[in-house]
Symmetry: C2
Subunit: 152 residues, 2 copies
């Protein structure tokens, strides 16, 4: 699920980006969470991974994901207290939506939104190649998805 | 949400316990996760907290929870690798269900199930007082629930 997100070209509020930010995804299917406490990682923080019903079916059967599959992963800051790591404020939310039209990224549309900011951070399929897909490309055997369902 | 779980009396497979283990709660509303890496804690591990729709409404309004509210928290072992904490195998799942009939625990039925074991670990309302509710009793202002919704 994870993709390194950075903006290759300035985007503005009028840009729709590759995928809109879904609503209510905390009530989708929660497949895993992870804490990355290595501060040198671009994914430092607490994150969760959710998939919609269409994607969960394919995940459980270990089949390629059908068009319309959506993965969403919100990333939070990390708060350490009393021997524990807790979620801090939301930092960004990243999205992958299966869409065969996005051929340059093997059928996945990638997007990212900073907390409270409606401007998409990736913007175009071409920008997603370097910003996201180059790393996911190594996961071809699982249809370019890193996450496994840890919550069955 | 968290309650110290231990069995006060031997229970057997025929015992129903205070609450049955709900199914498909990973598709309920996910309100928070937490990593407790302090190995001296009885709650050591990675855990998630889910609430059903009835409970989420009350949580968002900061109102007392209506009968039928259910919180579920699965606890996983902790796997540290490459600067991150990941979920390991499931250890136990704990449940709180609002039910006014459970007066001795202020209207909450508590139960716990070890991974892969159908025998309830708490068993009776009386056992839940020491095993769970004595610690939750300090959270009277939030209707005895520790968890806040971190995923709004």
């Amino acid at each position: 699920m994870i993709g390194l997100v950075f903006s290759l070209a300035p985007l503005s509020a009028g840009d729709k980006g590759n995928v809109e930010l879904p609503k209510d995804f905390h009530s989708w299917n929660h497949v895993k969470s992870m804490v990355i406490f290595d501060k040198t990682s671009p994914f430092y923080g607490f994150h969760h991974v959710y998939v919609n019903d269409k994607g969960l079916k394919a995940m459980k059967k270990a089949e390629p994901y059908p068009d319309g599959t959506v993965f969403v992963a919100p990333f939070y800051d990390l708060v350490m207290e009393e021997g524990s790591y807790n979620q801090g404020p939301l930092v960004q939310t990243v999205i992958m939506k299966k869409n065969k039209k996005f051929a340059v990224t093997d059928g996945w549309a990638y997007e990212a939104y900073k907390a409270g900011d409606p401007i998409p951070q990736v913007g175009t399929p071409e920008a997603a190649v370097e910003a996201c897909h180059n790393c996911h490309a190594g996961q071809e055997k699982t249809d370019f998805i890193f996450s496994k369902n840890m919550n069955e």
